[in-house]
């Protein structure tokens, strides 16, 4: 039976709570991204993305999200951003670029919303 953690009651839209249930459902997917802190895991991904995903035990939905570089979809599926950003380094995306994608904006559009638009 689902019980509501009072800590997360009233979370705003566009925010995805990473909790014990999410983690339980998506542990292997989170671990796949976490592994990118090790050079050999990064190399294995660059060498053969499909083999790396299979070895990590990702399911079909997860593999499709990775292939599509669907950053928002990966978060919505239940990946914590702080393991996801490790993979962003591997596929040569800056955090700012990932932020723009999650908002559904081009990089330039997104930067125009920032206090220092030419910051990098």
């Amino acid at each position: 039976m689902f019980t509501q953690n009072p800590q997360t009651l009233g979370m705003p839209e566009g925010t995805y709570v990473f909790d014990l249930r999410t983690c339980n459902r998506r542990l292997a997917f989170n671990r796949f991204f976490w592994n990118m802190i090790r050079p050999e895991a990064r190399q294995a991904f660059w060498d053969d993305e499909e083999a790396a995903m299979r070895a990590a035990g990702l399911d079909d939905e997860e593999m499709a999200l990775v292939r599509a570089r669907d950053w928002l979809g990966i978060v919505q599926a239940g990946v914590n951003f702080f393991v996801l950003e490790k993979w962003a380094r591997v596929v040569r995306k800056t955090n700012l670029e990932v932020y723009a994608i999650m908002r559904g904006e081009s990089f330039e559009e997104f930067m125009q919303t920032r206090a220092v638009p030419h910051a990098r």
Binding site: N5, P6, Q7, T8, L9, G10, M11, P12, E13, G14, T15, Y16, V17, F18, D19, L20, C23, L27, N30, R31, W34, M36, I37, R38, P39, R42, L72, V75, Q76, N80, F81, F82, V83, L84, E85, K86, W87, A88, R89, V90, N95, L96, Y99, M102, R103, G104, F110, M111, T113, R114, A115, V116, H118, A119, R120
Partner: protein, 292 residues
């Protein structure tokens, strides 16, 4: 006796580390950030603390979600700075004082803060982003670090009140150590930012400034907020500010804010604040009442 001589609140944005490593201190875009840390570094150089005790969070680097502790204290003479996906940074390993770390751990557990402990693990940008802006590192860091990691990633998180009380317990732990160590407590993270989901890019400067005033003068009020309150007011990842409350709990009732720098460049309100305690009898007696 060891004693706390001040406190620092600081953001731990990873790109601060990248900009530091690339030597962008004079870059007009980054200068307002780096200039803002100079008075803090100067203050530390003058005060010469032996120890920086950090309340920070690991970003699922040192620790993974298969066993993710609510509070974890690091014990070791050296902690490498972590590879977070982009390789190593070329900074010396963080230094530690094992006897002091162990004492803090023992004192906290004996006060019923049942921490986890980690050894021989790297530490990520939760400490490593601001550290070189606070302390010089050539040829080596001038002092040691006590790392206390707080879970702000996987709900349930410790409550704001629990973090504040952890800070109060840390003060008692520090003051029960016989060696004359000077300790500065540091809380990292924040201020307003959200970096996941469609709400990415949320900021709230009005709330940030209100938080800083309240943290200094009436921190108990901030312990009454829920995590959803912090998320709504400052963005999902601003919930890190409960770690500033841990730092605040370790300081006396009446604080002087010695320095503040606030720079919202892109997505995180990058902030650094330095505090000293107002030394007067009333402060001491109030602190004793709190402890009692």
């Amino acid at each position: 006796m060891a004693r706390i001589i001040g406190g620092i609140g600081t953001s731990h944005v990873p790109t601060i580390g990248v900009a530091y490593d690339k030597g962008r201190q004079e870059d007009p875009v980054w200068a307002p950030l780096f200039e803002g840390y100079k008075p803090v570094a100067k203050w530390l150089a003058e005060k010469q603390p032996d120890v920086l005790l950090f309340f920070y969070n690991d970003h699922a680097t040192t620790l993974f979600f298969d066993l993710y502790p609510t509070f974890a204290l690091g014990v070791g003479e050296r902690f490498p700075i972590a590879d977070e996906g982009a390789g190593l940074r070329g900074l010396p390993d963080i230094r530690g004082d094992v006897d002091f770390q162990a004492h803090i751990g023992e004192a906290l557990v004996n006060e019923e803060f049942d921490l986890a402990f980690f050894q021989n693990k790297p530490i990520d940008h939760g400490i490593a982003s601001p550290l070189p802006l606070l302390w010089p590192h050539e040829p080596d860091w001038p002092g040691t670090v006590v790392p206390i990691a707080i879970n702000v990633l996987q709900y349930p998180l410790p409550t704001a009140r629990r973090c504040y009380r952890l800070g109060q317990a840390v003060r008692r732990a520090v003051e029960s150590y016989p060696e004359d160590l000077k300790v500065v407590v540091v809380g990292t993270g924040g201020l307003s930012h959200q970096i996941h989901g469609e709400r990415t890019g949320f900021n709230n400067t009005e709330w940030d400034l209100d938080f800083l005033e309240t943290l200094r003068d009436d921190p108990e009020r901030l312990t009454q907020l829920t995590h959803a309150d912090y998320v709504r007011l400052g963005g999902a990842e601003s919930v890190e500010q409960i770690m500033w409350l841990a730092m605040r709990g370790a300081l006396g009732a009446s604080l002087e804010e010695m320095h503040r720098n606030y720079y919202l460049m892109t997505t995180t309100a990058m902030t650094v604040v330095t505090y000293e305690e107002r030394e007067n009898a009333a402060v001491g007696s109030q602190r004793e009442r709190e402890v009692a």
